[in-house]
């Protein structure tokens, strides 16, 4: 696990490594990989309801280096951002790092949020998804990590609802809409969005012609959008 603290990584050299192994037993403070225990996941439910204006206003304050607004923005959006990243990366350690990088990007001066291009949440999820996909592709291209991401197929994400989602009214509405999609539509959108795959790779994985996959993704999203009543021009 390259992103976690290694007790004796290749970088340290053999001398250090052997010394480390001896010393490890003597030290009380060893570093272990990041683990998320179930009870850490059960915080209060964040970010429900009509919050578009709130999030937009908070982002304006964040742009002027307002740390309080940043904390509030984080609290209102963190579970959705982290949950999506976790679906893409599947590894809690990678996901935690990516989550941090996303919010540092939110904080950094010059990260442009343009309300004309959509809601603050949409902007945030776009930013987070891009970063998660970049990371999963980078990990996948690492030769020694093929076992981790290579052969594994993407779980049926839409069928795996998180505990937190079940407590949200917004989630239930989305789930109802997802139920209206055909399996082919769902699977195509899932692989493209959560699999970190390109649409060519989705076509390969589903053994389906490229144009068919493209139109399935597009039709699936269109049905979903219409069911949800999403109109980004109204936001």
């Amino acid at each position: 696990m390259p992103v976690r603290m290694a007790h004796a990584g290749a970088a340290a050299g053999d001398a250090i490594r052997s010394a480390t192994l001896d010393r490890r037993r003597m030290l009380s403070r060893l570093i272990r990989p990041v683990r998320i225990s179930p009870d850490e996941r059960t915080g209060r439910v964040t970010g429900v309801g009509d919050e578009t204006d709130t999030l937009d206003a908070l982002l304006v304050r964040v742009a002027s280096a307002d740390a309080t607004a940043f904390a509030e923005f984080y609290d209102l959006t963190r579970s959705r951002t982290y949950g999506m990243i976790l679906r893409v990366l599947r590894d809690p350690g990678y996901s935690e790092e990516t989550l941090q990088e996303v919010y540092l990007q939110v904080w950094r001066p010059g990260t442009a949020f343009d309300p004309a291009q959509g809601s603050a949440l949409s902007w945030l999820m776009t930013l987070a998804h891009r970063r998660a996909v970049d990371r999963v592709r980078a990990e996948r291209s690492g030769a020694d990590r093929e076992a981790r991401y290579g052969a594994q197929s993407v779980e049926a994400v839409f069928d795996t609802v998180t505990d937190e989602a079940l407590r949200r009214d917004d989630a239930r509405q989305v789930l109802d809409c997802l139920d209206t999609l055909t399996d082919l539509h769902r699977r195509s959108v899932e692989l493209a969005y959560y699999g970190g795959l390109t649409y060519r790779e989705v076509a390969e994985q589903l053994s389906t012609a490229l144009p068919t996959v493209k139109s399935r993704i597009r039709d699936g999203l269109r049905r979903l959008k219409n069911c949800l009543g999403v109109d980004s021009d109204d936001e």
């Binding site: 990041v34 904390a71 989550l99 941090q100 989602a165 997802l178 493209a192 493209k214």
Partner: protein, 247 residues
């Protein structure tokens, strides 16, 4: 999304708009994304508008779908982020513990300065505050290649490095880490092809609930190592007991 069947865009335009959905889902390669961006820039205004509309719609739709996958992140992330942000801000209405944070910074600065003197041949930790004209932390946060790496420390707490190879520096944040025992210090090392380079020490007094330090000259380092050393530090690590990779 309903414009693909509308006449008037031309074959090229229709084909481009057809890619908007997979583009918005990030289901394209980097090369394809650049190519699509270039084509949209060069496209007729109505084609570009239809492409932008579909992209917005898809992103808004997936933002709604994110309700179904919500998971609380580990609580420690919040503290780390706020510590990093605090290192990058100095506003009058900042959190109330700012004075305490500044005092900790000063203590750490003194300790780091001492470490520079002691660590012969090593590049010491340079700590900086917002008041400096060009805070390294701000440069790191603003870098295109900013990365973070974290590890939990057994016995409590986490260590995180936010770093940029372009800026050639990183910010180390230690949260709720137990201080070293009296008579010893934690010493940080930049590990790389040329061995271990001393990067500063932390005494028991330095290790506050949230300790932040800037690491410089990291570009050759492949990892940040931690060791326990006698007070004053060592010129070479006795034993690296933990590492954060800086790849």
């Amino acid at each position: 999304m309903t414009n693909s069947t509308r006449p008037g865009f031309g074959d090229d335009g229709l084909e481009l708009i057809d890619l908007a959905a997979v583009y918005a889902l990030d289901a394209v390669t980097d090369a394809e994304r650049h190519e699509i961006d270039a084509r949209v820039t060069a496209a007729d205004a109505d084609v570009a508008e239809a492409f932008a509309r579909e992209t917005r719609d898809v992103r808004a739709t997936m933002a709604q779908v994110s309700h179904t996958t919500a998971v609380e992140p580990p609580a420690a992330v919040r503290g780390r982020l706020l510590a990093l942000i605090a290192a990058d801000t100095d506003t009058p209405d900042a959190p109330v513990d700012l004075a305490a944070r500044r005092a900790r910074w000063r203590n750490f600065l003194l300790a780091a300065a001492a470490a520079v003197v002691i660590a012969v041949g090593g590049i010491g930790i340079a700590t900086q505050m917002r008041q400096d004209t060009q805070p390294t932390s701000a440069q790191i946060l603003a870098a295109d290649d900013v990365r973070t790496v974290s590890g939990a420390i057994e016995g409590g707490g986490t260590a995180t490095v936010v770093y940029s190879k372009e800026v050639d520096a990183g910010v180390l944040v230690m949260n709720n880490v137990a201080p070293p025992t009296e008579g010893t210090v934690y010493q940080m090392w930049l590990l790389g092809p040329s061995g271990a380079i001393a990067a500063g020490t932390m005494t028991p007094d330095d290790v506050a609930p949230s300790t932040t330090a800037v690491l410089e000259d990291i570009s050759d380092a492949t990892a940040l190592g931690f060791s326990v050393e006698p007070t004053g530090g060592s010129t070479q690590p006795t034993a690296i007991f933990a590492q954060l990779p800086l790849t």
